[in-house]
Structures are given as structure tokens and as C-alpha cells.
Symmetry: C2
Subunit: 241 residues, 2 copies
DNA sequence: TCCTAACTGAGTACGACGTTCGCAGTAGTG
DNA sequence: CACTACTGCGAACGTCGTACTCAGTTAGGA
């Protein structure tokens, strides 16, 4: 059993003695990630993953104590490999780059929206990312607590925003229909809301949106919101220096 | 089977002819909500809920087509009953009140953090809430699209922030230990990160936080971030009027 | 008033899930 | 070479969401 240490991060991958394991954490994690990317996170079962690896299901518990730990490995692996952003020395540009990178990463791996709770999920790669992000606002005269508030606020906006962007997309995927068909199943109810006359503003939202569910529209809303959040964060610097 | 309409919201609760159902959607929903509040969302199984109601598990499918629909009912019920905020006519005060109300609601019902994807989960109570929130920024000279961006941005911040606040709390709960014991299981790993010397800023975070996990500290961070976000949203009005 | 179509309740069953147990096999150590 | 600590894994347990089926019940139409 791989059940000694408190978290998986301080438990050694290999124990000293017996035969060498036929797989590595990295290999198993990679297989789980591609499985989640291609068939959705709910398709990542210990059995299915074992099949993918040509292994018995119970064997996976030699590498991982619980499924949760597998998810932790997956999250940290993606944080390490697929989160890209640039550091230029201009804090606003850098935080914007981080926000875009975080959003893009989650959109590439929709299952990341739920299990990765930002700063609280503390694998080594995740830690490195936030170390770097904190670095972009270091030396601007802020207390460490204030720096943390800045990063957490930005992080919360991005994750919350992308979570909303994804939820419709996920509903479509689960229904098995294509986007057009799915929207038609929703239509009668939306219509009944409008006809009730009790939602005039939401009605304007539905009617005035020229391209109702253009992906660029969501990106647009993200970018606008992001600039507002960055505007707000800039206030922290004025009061500090 | 309760499987005719596309969503549960346009499917009548009672069909015309036969015997009256022995329960109502509202009753079932309320039982599920208290079950989720007291024993966690993962304790809400169709079987457990059926026991709570003194009913066979299969009977629940007379009221609900899939478990997802039960969750939808739960979310919308809580949005209707437990989300409180005040409308004064001062947009900033009103949005702040909404943000606090939303946060408090999710903290009271931690399971709401995940399944309720904000604007996309569109039960009648949810719709009413967002109608009201849009109303607080109506008539300020903004296009409906811009109003939507404002609300979505605020909503994203609150949900993302509360999600992070909850994730640690949930990890503690799942471990079965109390907070003190749980923190001690995490300690060796945190220590090893610090000792590696590769995370100087995160180390400052750990050391400089005077009361490491005071709930007021989280509330503080929320309030500070919220004011920054509101600062940023205020910019939308200056360019509009 | 009665018949019957339409509905409700639920026992049973199916397949999938996470996880545990116990055992056969293997590789380093003394 | 024996011992020990490990690895792989078939089988099994309990739980889950859900479909099938059918007996019992009721309200509308004759």
C-alpha cells in the first residue's frame, strides 16, 4: 500500500527493496491526463486507467493511496507543463499574461476547473507557479499579505470566470448532442421565462446579444473583466508607495 | 418516468390523471438540501435520500429524471431562500451587498460552490436573483452587454474566491481529523518546501502571516479583493456616462 | 356509477465504481 | 542461499445511478 506519508508529495516514489515498479508516477499521471482530456474526467476510473496502461486495476494502488492523490498528481503535472506566461518586469502586463495563461490552460483541460483549488493545492509545480507570480509584484512596496491578496483576487476572478465559461460547454458535452441541438432543447424554457414578463433585463440580454454564444464573445467578456480587475488591483500600489 | 421535457423547469410537477404523488418536488428538494448541509454533498445518494423520505429509491425517479436534476432543484431552492442582499439604489453598495450575500450563502451550503455555475444554471429563482442584480446597475448609461460583464465579473470573483476558501475546509472535513491534527499532517511537506529554499516568497507568506488560518483573515482578504474589484468596475461607468 | 386508461410506488437487477485482501512471484541484502 | 521487502493482481465487498417491471390506485369519461 502507498499509504504511509500524509501527502503524496513527501512520500518517496520508490521503496528500497523489492522488484522495480513497471511504471512511474509520471507515466501513470500522463495517461490519466490524456484520458481526462479526451473522454472527460468522469471517464478516469481506476479500472479504465489500468486498462490504458495494460495493468490490473488494483496495481495502481501501489503508486497512489487514493484516487484523490491521482488527481493531485494530474493537477500539478498540468500546472507544470501547460501553464505558460511571460514575465517582463511590468507587473500589469505580467499579471495579464498569467491570467491568460491560466484561462487557456483550464480551457485545454476542462476538468482542471474543479479539483484544482488554486493556492490550496500545493504540489511543487503549483508552488513554483505562484512563487513566480508573486515575484512579478515583489519590490513594489507591498506587504507580503497585500501581495497575496492581489494574486488571490486575480486567481479567483480567472477561475470563477472560466468555471462559468465551461459549465455550459460541459452541459452540452454531457448531453451527447451538438451545440445546435442542445440549444433547441433549452429554447422552450427560455421562451417561457421571457413570456412571463418578469425578467425584462434578462430578456434584453437574450435579444441584444448579437451572436449569442460566440466563443469570442466569452473571450471578450473575460478580457474586459480582466482589465477592470487589474484597474482595481492598481489601487493597491498607489496606497502603498 | 419523469423524462419528457428538456429541462425540469418546463415539465409539470403533476401529470393529469392518476393518483396524487405522495411527495412534492419541494419536499424532496428540502430533504436533499438538509442532507447535503449536514453530511456533505457526497452523502446525497438516491438511496440515502429515499430512506430520509421513507420511500423506495426508485420512487424518486417519479419526480426527477436524473440525479443532476435533483441538484438543479437544490441549487435553485437555495438561491431562492438563502441568498440575501439589500438594494438601496447606490450601485456600489448594492453590488457589495450581493457579493457578501453570495459568499455567505455558499459558506452555509459548501456544496453550492461546485454545481451551481452561476449564470448558466438557470432555474427561476436564480434568474430572479440576476434580474435583480442587473437592476442595481440599470439606468447608469451602460449597454446591456456591459452590464452583463460587470455582473459576471463580480460573480466570478466571489465564486472563485469562496471556492478557494472552501477547498481547504473541505480537505479537513474529508480527512475526518480536526483542523489542528490535519495541519500537522501537512506540516512536514510544507517544511520541506521551505527548506528547499526555492520558494522564498511563499516562505514569507507562511512566516509573516501572524494568524495563519484565522477565518477572519480569509474574510479580510475577501473584503479587500472585493473593494478592488468594485474599484475596477467603477471604471466602466466613467467611460459610459 | 362504474370502467378503464393513466398514473404512482417500489422490489429487483445490472453494470460500474473505489478500494481491500491475500497470495504468488521477484529482486536486492546478509 | 535464505530472507525480506517489495510488486502485480484476481477476486471480492459495499455502494452507487438507474432501468425494468408490475401490482396497486385514482380520476375522467361513458
Amino acid at each position: 500500500m502507498a499509504t504511509s506519508g500524509g501527502t503524496i508529495w513527501d512520500r518517496p516514489e520508490r521503496a528500497g527493496r523489492g522488484p522495480a515498479p513497471s511504471h512511474s508516477r509520471e507515466e501513470i499521471t500522463a495517461a490519466a491526463v490524456t484520458l481526462a482530456d479526451t473522454r472527460g474526467i468522469e471517464a478516469v476510473s481506476m479500472r479504465a486507467l489500468a486498462v490504458q496502461l495494460g495493468v490490473g486495476a488494483a496495481s495502481l494502488y501501489r503508486y497512489v493511496a487514493r484516487k484523490d492523490e491521482l488527481i493531485e498528481l494530474m493537477v500539478d503535472a498540468v500546472m507544470g507543463h501547460d501553464l505558460q506566461f511571460e514575465i517582463s518586469g511590468d507587473w500589469r502586463r505580467d499579471l495579464r499574461s498569467f491570467a491568460h495563461g491560466l484561462r487557456a490552460m483550464i480551457l485545454r483541460h476542462p476538468w482542471m476547473a474543479v479539483p484544482s483549488a488554486g493556492l490550496r493545492n500545493f504540489g511543487p509545480s503549483t508552488a513554483q507557479v505562484y512563487e513566480q507570480v508573486l515575484g512579478t509584484i515583489d519590490g513594489l512596496g507591498l506587504e507580503i499579505d497585500e501581495m497575496l491578496v492581489m494574486v488571490e483576487t486575480l486567481d479567483a476572478f480567472v477561475r470563477g470566470r472560466v468555471f462559468e465559461e465551461l459549465s455550459e460547454q460541459e452541459a452540452v458535452r454531457r448531453s451527447g448532442l451538438d451545440r445546435e441541438q442542445w440549444m433547441q432543447t433549452q429554447f422552450p424554457y427560455i421562451q417561457s421565462l421571457i413570456d412571463s414578463g418578469r425578467y425584462p433585463l434578462l430578456t434584453r440580454v437574450v435579444f441584444d446579444a448579437e451572436t449569442p454564444h460566440d466563443p469570442d464573445r466569452l473571450k471578450h467578456g473575460f478580457d474586459m473583466g480582466l482589465e477592470r480587475v487589474l484597474d482595481g488591483l492598481a489601487f493597491m500600489l498607489t496606497t502603498a508607495s
